[in-house]
């Protein structure tokens, strides 16, 4: 099944569950993101590209969702209540819900030190593995 850009945008909007049309493009999300300096596509673009005429492929190809910490700084500080974090999550899920697309595997566990809290391992597997 081949779907076009407009349909892909709608799928991501549904999966994110945040109202991108409220965005006033102030850029506060990107200004506040503690890992923006490591991202190839900044958080505000994740909202912008889901608006009419946006280019969804830019988001699906971005490395940013794998740098996102889900710290909710962007969502908390958005003056309009939009959650770029939820769009990052939607992009991550779009990838890892596809067969064979896990970004983290149980074999990787061998590399962790003894003090690594379960919380970190569970969190990372939730974010990078289905």
């Amino acid at each position: 099944m081949v779907i076009n850009n407009k349909e892909r945008a709608e799928m991501l909007r549904q999966l994110a569950g945040t109202n991108v049309s409220l965005c006033i493009q102030c850029g506060r999300c990107s200004a506040n993101c503690p890992v923006a300096w490591k991202m190839d596509v900044l958080p505000h673009r994740f909202v912008y590209e889901l608006l009419n005429g946006g280019n969804v492929d830019v988001l699906l190809e971005a490395k940013s969702p794998w740098k996102c910490l889900s710290c909710f700084s962007c969502a908390e500080r958005c003056p309009k209540g939009v959650s770029p974090a939820a769009i990052m999550e939607a992009v991550r899920l779009t990838h890892i819900r596809a067969q064979g697309n896990n970004k983290l595997n149980p074999a990787d566990l061998e590399n962790y030190d003894d003090k690594m809290p379960q919380q970190a391992i569970v969190a990372a597997f939730r974010k990078f593995n289905k």
């Binding site: 889900s70 700084s73 919380q119």
Partner: protein
Amino acid sequence: MIYNYYPGCTLSTKAKELDVAARKCAEALGFPLVELPNWQCCGAVYPMAPDAIAERLSAVRALVAARDNGGVLVTLCSACHHVIKRVNDDMANVKEIQQKVNNYLGLEVPYTGETKVLHYLEVLRDVVGFENLKAKVVKPLQGRNIGAYYGCLLLRPGQVMSFDDVERPEILENFIKVIGATPVIYDMRNECCAGYMAVTDKNLCKEMVSEIQDNAADAGAGEFITACPLCAYNLLENAGATKLPVSYFTEVLAEALGLNEGGAD
């Protein structure tokens, strides 16, 4: 009141100190914690997608068990608190999630977010009361300059967590005063430690933690306290040149209440 307690995965293993001190202090302060039977891991991260139903179930099961045993659920780990409180909010306010979860669980009485979720710090502040707590301090931690590290999950999103002012929190600073130490306010106290990147990107953690450590040390802090096992891990294990010690807030509480005698710790 029954204080149903959700320890979570890490408090039973790598962060036992947080749990042991919490139970001991709760007992001494008159709100003994009753561990929920058969609790399951909360999943550590809040599932943001509205269609992620399975990921919300363990939190709902804990919430239902607490509802059926008095209606209060106390949490301690920042991540557990974040996940359980947000899922509770979904169950109260997001019809589609509420309906799907209830359809799946087939409970005798459907769950619609009735349980009151309290973080341990909220119990100290709002049930015990900081003034009453102060009266029970036998070993004030005089001369200690403590930087409270809130991290990201305990406070955000402010509207749902309704824990404290998201940008100018004071609950931990007030707690530090109550136990006789001096709170040190530094700008990065409510910024993320890099969280689960500990698993996939250690270098990123090191860069971010170095900034937090330097920021706190520059402001005059001699040590950190936190409520989150992952924050504690990152602050210690991924520190750079500056490496202030880290304790859980329940450990310093036990110390101030004189509950560490006999070398139990």
